[in-house]
């Protein structure tokens, strides 16, 4: 598996798109720091971008890589290699090269700006950790979708739909249900609903870490009470890990039964 991972990774870090992605983050990080002149504000703005963009790039790159390397995968399948090693290796290759672009692209401008001398270093690290989790999660979801759909167009559409649902529609439904049931106590429900969606969960985690939960009013207080504790952080990281683990396990299961 490590060999497949190594070669997928090499292949990807040489592709033009990885550089575009890296350059985009470099530019974004530098511009935000230049305009805000404040690390904390830059982190908040970055969070808003990352929480939407990272899942989108993860899904698109994942689906694209799977379909593009299909014939090559067939060549690998004819080699004496375990099937699961091929797919998990490719998945990790995509996810890790995207993660590297993210960490380098944002890390370099922030380090140059003087991140290590500031108090915001943990906020920034949390931002990168959630970004990494989101990359791992959405690339895994993309691989699942691609494994189940032979048709490229269908696969792409489902991938975009999953992203749209998680990033936009879910929030809308969540908000609407909060309004519809506003006469009931919704603390547990809103915490649960936030836990289920990795994008929401990442957003709340970063917001709470930045100590601006007061802006969220009563909900913020409830969230602070749950997620702000070590237990809450533990549960959140656990849920995010579960979001990585389940799709990866399904890749493992599905690829052994599939015909190529």
């Amino acid at each position: 598996m490590l060999k497949i991972l190594k070669y997928s990774f090499y292949d990807l870090i040489r592709s033009r798109w990885s550089y575009v992605y890296l350059l985009f983050y470099l530019l974004l990080g530098s511009v935000l720091l230049f305009l805000n002149n404040d690390l904390s504000k830059a982190v908040i703005t970055l969070m808003n971008v990352i929480i939407i963009l990272v899942p989108l790039i993860g899904t698109i790159f994942g689906v694209m890589y799977y379909y593009n390397s299909k014939e090559f995968t067939e060549l690998l399948l004819a080699q004496p290699i375990k099937r699961s090693s091929i797919f998990i290796g490719q998945y990790l290759g995509v996810a890790l090269s995207l993660t590297m672009s993210l960490i380098l692209g944002l890390g370099i401008p922030f380090v140059l700006y003087g991140l290590f001398q500031s108090n915001e270093i943990w906020d920034f690290i949390l931002l990168l950790v959630t970004g990494t989790f989101l990359t791992l999660i959405f690339t895994a979801l993309a691989f699942n979708i691609a494994l189940y759909n032979e048709n490229k167009i269908k696969g792409f559409s489902y991938a975009i739909l999953v992203w749209l649902f998680m990033a936009v529609i879910y929030d809308g439904l969540f908000l609407m249900s909060l309004i519809a049931f506003q006469s009931y106590p919704l603390d547990a429900f809103s915490i649960g609903a936030t836990l289920v969606n990795p994008i929401d969960l990442s957003r709340i985690l970063i917001l709470l870490k930045l100590d601006i939960s007061a802006l969220l009013g009563y909900t913020g207080a409830v969230f602070q009470k749950f997620f702000g504790t070590n237990f809450g952080l533990f549960i959140s990281i656990g849920t995010l890990s579960l979001w990585v683990l389940l799709p990866v396990l399904n890749i493992y299961r599905k690829c052994r039964k599939k015909d190529f």
Binding site: K3, I4, Y10, R14, F72, E74, P80, I81, K257, D259
Partner: protein, 235 residues
């Protein structure tokens, strides 16, 4: 040695293989022929473990291939369409496949044979179709495995490369290997094959050498004999 017993495979509603029985015990070149959609590629992919059969037994060297992947070390496979990671160079790809198989290969000899030296440092995305096919051939034939499977090996090759490929296949045969070939070019099959396996509607319709085929169909010409097999069934 390949033994296949009552192999069935269905894709959705489409029953592709309907009970293939095939025993390949002696050495030589076997041409797997049949009309489009008769299940040639599915059969090959089942042998390679890329397609999981619904029913039936498949043994390579007397070992069942079910949930087994190590047996593929015995097989060299040339896929029909060659598509490689676009950002790698030819040389890197060859090194990579050797690394993945954990075996040294005779790549130098083959690279010379197909005159690929000028392309070694080029990226795979910049190669023409014929050159890609040559790289494909180098990749699949550089290991000295007892079983070779070639799916449409002649696609896109220029005449010189074609002659060299034929010589190469004959050399491999002389080493006492089992070679399976699918092709739609009948002159190529007639020149190379020791035995014909003719698939029709998911079953082995004919198995035997070219002379036996000619006598059975009462045709002197091989291409016509094959055509005859097809029309007989339709009549």
């Amino acid at each position: 040695m390949i033994q296949i017993e009552q192999l069935h495979k269905r894709f959705g509603k489409n029953q592709v293989l309907k009970g293939i029985d095939l025993n390949i015990t002696q050495k030589g070149i076997f041409a797997i022929l049949g009309p489009n959609g008769s299940g040639k590629t599915t059969l090959i992919k089942a042998i390679l473990g890329m397609v999981v059969p619904n029913k039936g037994k498949l043994l390579v060297d007397s070992i069942s291939i079910k949930k087994n992947w190590k047996y593929r070390d015995q097989i060299d496979y040339l896929p029909q369409i060659a598509n490689f990671p676009p950002n790698l160079t030819v040389k890197e790809l060859i090194v990579m496949i050797k690394d993945l198989r954990n075996r040294p290969g005779e790549d130098k000899k083959l690279i010379e044979l197909f005159m690929l030296e000028p392309f070694l440092t080029k990226k795979l995305s910049n190669l023409s179709g014929g050159t890609k096919q040559k790289v494909n051939i180098v990749l699949s034939l550089m290991f000295d495995s007892p079983i070779i499977i070639l799916d449409e090996p002649t696609t896109g090759l220029d005449p010189i490369a074609l002659i060299r490929l034929k010589e190469l296949i004959k050399e491999e045969k002389a080493k006492g290997k089992i070679i399976l070939i699918t092709s739609h070019i009948m002159s190529f099959v007639e020149e190379m094959a020791d035995e014909i396996v003719f698939l029709l509607e998911g079953k082995v319709y004919f198995k035997g050498n070219i002379d036996a085929l000619k006598t059975q169909t009462k045709e002197a010409n091989f291409e016509r004999a094959i055509a005859n097999l097809l029309t007989y069934d339709n009549a």
